[in-house]
């Protein structure tokens, strides 16, 4: 297969020294194996996620994502925009759709962009990396690259909110999307069946502002994974990953649980299954170590 190229929007959390740098590292390894070239959008800016609304009104927020799209149009005219972060993808895709729907907003946005010497045509697809894997490769092709099947590991596929709603992966249901489970199976591991907190909200940004309420939900997400016999949780979203991984000690303290379950990205799993070492798979980025993956990676 020929090399595939995409206009890549890494997002703030994937910057060096930021909270999901491990997502970027493992994604890079995964892409090397799949012969994907990610061309970073030059000088991209933050998308304002979904929490920027207090300060930013509608147009300033749209302008942020529009700037990224415009830069991508300039630098990589023929490539789809691809994001790994759920919030980045959502904000960018939403902007694309809103501008498509309203000629007024489009005109106003371009007015704002012109202050930065930019213009948006808005003719690009905005896609999540998971979509690229499933639609441009497919489970079979993804499975063909597996060198070290992740045998004997039981994994709960936690899809969360924003990779799933309102857009989601084509053909999947909002209430019970199956793609993570299928991916887990493709990599030789064992998906948790009927994981009933699969699309439960983790609190998102409210994990900072409303920690009690969010941790209460996170507790259920982890609890249900344990109930299903999971050894680890996999997610496609950096907010999910962070929220579900880092508060386990606090939750244990508050609720008397004994949670200690690794939370990894699908790219982590793929990088390991594709035979990359622990460093390339960013296993050192796990706060709760994924020992079973380390064992396979070090084999």
């Amino acid at each position: 297969m020929a090399k595939k190229e995409y206009s890549f929007y890494p997002g703030c959390s994937s910057q060096k020294g930021a909270s999901s740098i491990n997502y970027l590292i493992s994604t890079n390894s995964m892409c090397e194996e799949l012969d994907i070239q990610l061309n970073h959008i030059p000088d991209w800016n933050c998308c304002a996620a979904s929490i920027g609304y207090a300060g930013g009104g509608e147009l300033p927020r749209l302008a942020l994502s529009a700037r990224n799209i415009a830069l991508s149009e300039q630098a990589h005219p023929d490539q789809d925009i691809v994001a790994t972060c759920a919030a980045c993808w959502l904000a960018t895709k939403e902007t694309k759709e809103r501008l498509d729907e309203s000629a007024d907003l489009m005109a106003e946005t371009n007015q704002a962009l012109s202050a930065a010497g930019l213009e948006i045509k808005n003719n690009k697809e905005v896609r999540h990396m998971a979509e690229v894997l499933i639609e441009d490769f497919g489970y079979e092709a993804l499975g063909a690259k597996v060198k070290k099947p992740l045998e004997g590991i039981k994994i709960a596929g936690y899809v969360g909110c924003q990779t799933n709603r309102p857009f989601g992966i084509d053909g999947e249901s909002y209430e019970n999307p199956m793609y993570l489970d299928k991916l887990v199976e493709t990599l030789g591991a064992d998906p948790v069946k009927n994981y009933d907190k699969k699309v439960q909200c983790c609190g998102g940004a409210l994990a900072f502002s409303e920690p009690e309420k969010s941790q209460d939900m996170i507790k259920d997400i982890i609890g249900a994974a344990y109930d299903g016999g999971a050894d680890m949780i996999v997610t496609p979203c950096p907010v999910c990953q962070m929220n579900v991984e880092v508060y386990q000690d606090q939750i244990n303290e508050k609720y008397g649980t004994k949670f200690n379950i690794p939370v990894v990205y699908y790219s982590t799993l793929m990088s390991v299954a594709y035979g990359r070492n622990a460093k390339d798979s960013a296993l050192n980025g796990q706060i709760i170590k994924a020992k079973q993956l380390e064992a396979i990676a070090n084999k």
Binding site: C12, Q15, G17, I51, Y53, L59, P60, A63, C161, G203
Partner: protein, 208 residues
């Protein structure tokens, strides 16, 4: 309450629905709600809401301006989009919640010390400063947003998390010195200023 608020009140008098339609992001959808309650039942923090989205829409129609805009309800939205995908009338509920929150903040009516509002504002300020989020500063600001002594306590509580992140190379203390940002600072800020200017002009027009 702001001068802008006074002007808006003057203009719409007792037609809050019209005010929302004109000034709130996706506000003209409010009238299309059929009060089925699906959103209320789908919201993950539903129990924590002073008024569910369904109720907020009804209150808007009933002209309950102060109660709606000073409520902390819409600040409970986690942006999970559950309501949007389930609403049989396809209302963009999440966006309306954001829009209402923003509008309330804009008019200076949102509740004091609402933690999500503070965080959302911090986030916005943080990102607009350089064009990219600086997670360390954001975090520190967050912990200190309720004053210095609270902040020290919070920082201590969160210390283990910070350490974990640090050892996993997912938190860089050097960021405090500046960290990431877009290169075209001038263009970036000019763009945002312009966008804000256009939006202010719109609100001003409706508000007058």
């Amino acid at each position: 309450m702001s001068e802008l608020n006074n002007r808006v009140v003057e203009k719409y008098r007792n037609n809050f629905l019209k005010e929302v339609e004109a000034n709130v992001e996706e506000g003209d959808w409010v009238k299309m709600c059929m009060q089925c309650g699906v959103c209320a039942g789908s919201c993950p923090l539903g129990d924590a809401w002073e008024h569910t989205p369904q109720k907020l829409f009804m209150m808007i129609r009933a002209g309950k301006r102060d109660e709606v805009l000073s409520s902390d309800a819409m600040w409970m939205c986690t942006s999970c989009y559950n309501c949007i995908v389930r609403c049989p009338r396809e209302l963009p509920i999440t966006h309306i919640m954001h829009g209402l929150a923003h509008y309330a903040a804009r008019l200076g009516l949102s509740p004091k010390n609402q933690p999500t509002q503070k965080f959302a504002q911090l986030f916005w300020d943080n990102l607009t400063k350089t064009g990219r989020v600086n997670e360390l500063k954001l975090g520190l600001n967050l912990y200190f947003m309720n004053g210095f002594s609270e902040g020290v306590k919070k920082s201590l509580e969160m210390r283990s998390i910070g350490q974990g992140m640090f050892f996993a190379k997912r938190l860089n203390p050097m960021e405090i010195l500046g960290g990431h940002g877009v290169k075209d600072q001038a263009g970036f800020h000019a763009m945002l200023d312009k966008a804000r200017e256009i939006e202010d002009a719109k609100l001003d027009k409706f508000g007058k």
